[in-house]
Symmetry: C2
């Protein structure tokens, strides 16, 4: 699993969960206190996020941080 593949997996997980909860990327970004552009960057897999960024997102989505990481069976 390359770094890029990992980033893409995480981005897809975030988007999937966000859509399941029917939250706009704008709203999620706002809950995390960053701009929608940063959220877009993350969901597109263009960044290798820090664990604290993932933590903030998981809090905003009301899920465990592990859920953002799983599915691809890391």
């Amino acid at each position: 699993m390359t770094k890029k593949e990992l980033q893409i997996l995480i981005g897809k997980n975030i988007r999937r969960i966000r859509l399941e909860k029917k939250i706009s990327a704008q709203e999620l970004a706002s809950r995390c206190n960053f701009e929608k552009s940063a959220m877009s960057r993350l969901e597109a897999g263009n960044t290798n996020p820090t664990v604290y960024t993932l933590y903030k997102i998981s809090q905003a989505l009301d899920i465990k941080i592990e859920e953002i990481m799983q599915k691809g069976d890391l």
Copy 2:
């Protein structure tokens, strides 16, 4: 949970698992292709690691990345 608390939790998890597997910090660092000083920094909770760094460590420890994150019930 502050950023620092999260970092410390992750550092402790890594150290605990590493010791359970009886691997030296030096050896673990080497498996991840970084220096022992960087490993020490991580285990001490002095850094907010990227997900790829955690991924490399989880591979070196032969565990799932989730294991590094859990226990503190994030």
